[in-house]
Subunit: 244 residues, 2 copies
Amino acid sequence: MKQNIYDDPNFFKHYRQLRKTKYNFNNSLEQPALKSLLPDLYNLKVLDIGCGMGEFAKYCIENGAQHVTAIDISTNMLLIAQSEHAHQKIDFYQQSLEDFKATPSSFDCITSSLALHYMSDFHAMIGKITTMLRPNGLIIFSVEHPIATARQEMERWIYDIDGNRCHYAIDDYQDEGLRKHTWYVDGVIKYHRTLSSIINTLLSHGLAIEKVVEPIPDKEAIEKLPSLEKELRRPSFLLVKARK
Amino acid sequence: MKQNIYDDPNFFKHYRQLRKTKYNFNNSLEQPALKSLLPDLYNLKVLDIGCGMGEFAKYCIENGAQHVTAIDISTNMLLIAQSEHAHQKIDFYQQSLEDFKATPSSFDCITSSLALHYMSDFHAMIGKITTMLRPNGLIIFSVEHPIATARQEMERWIYDIDGNRCHYAIDDYQDEGLRKHTWYVDGVIKYHRTLSSIINTLLSHGLAIEKVVEPIPDKEAIEKLPSLEKELRRPSFLLVKARK
């Protein structure tokens, strides 16, 4: 069953507010890291998996991509994408990666921002992505970091009695699979995968690892969004760039 | 300055006892993982960095290697290596990797078991190793896992008042560099490096990642050495296999 938390009205109300803030973890940390991994997009055909509100698809077009196929399962997200980032070179589809009809070698670059950790079968997804990439094509994605998803219990930052963060709790690392979080609403489902499992799955499909990023906020970003400071203590995100 | 903790008499007394135990973290977890990454060693020239007591060098010869050059800085370790694992196809040298005279393309396979985290300049070491590898040669190494080395404070497992392990504490992850541990004696120096830093350093020298391992003890191993059970909760070791 595909989770579609972004069409939960209560969740979406909060999520929309978060993304409207001027500084947040997406635009201050994850998106700059993702964009830093992109090749020269000129004339490239891009598939964006879990495109959300379509800003990244639009960014690709603005940076020279020939065409972006942008898929997401959420009605809410795609309504915003269509109204705010519609472009003749972008096709938005309401579709899961699982259901997406893959044409072999049809994309130069496949991207995914913080979506793959919602999907249960990583091996199958990477297999499908590899098939859709042309030879020498790139996959560039971000997921929640294995350090951040490991512990079954939801309490991960440990605080002292004065409310200061003492350290981050890691546990259950080798126990891959479903994790239930509360993120605005209860029961948000994510899948924990170990670092080695992520890397070896890419390698097992014949992809060559080109770069791994655990984003570090710079001083300026922390000044604007002080909560980013905790990213120095443990990473929230893991990004990988790999080539077919 | 190169640390030579293995020549501290007090440390070595304890370490020697540990390694004499029938089941320990080396022979039950780290060594099987390292050996699982080895290619067919038949006729290969091997360099083993931080060879310690020479068991691994001997293992390589027993498994077909043509010759092993085995280096270590510790007099204590090499005395045991010479007395217990001397072989006409093994040359033991008391030498640091930093001081080792590298002949380009002189080894088919370069191995290192739990030694590289004692050395301060990872980029230089991997550069030197890459130079010494023949084209298509392999580097296979284990280090303490970044999750295990991250926190500056030495208390990493957090216990409840009954002495049960609650979780593992991670902190200071992005702050790479020196960590002082107490391991039998005070002031054992190790270097924390992030996962991305380790992988990207290999990639920056043109090496291709072939496999990453975070060893998981099996049921049988845990039965023999119950303390291995905590490896399910967070990994102690990280192993990487990469090809020139």
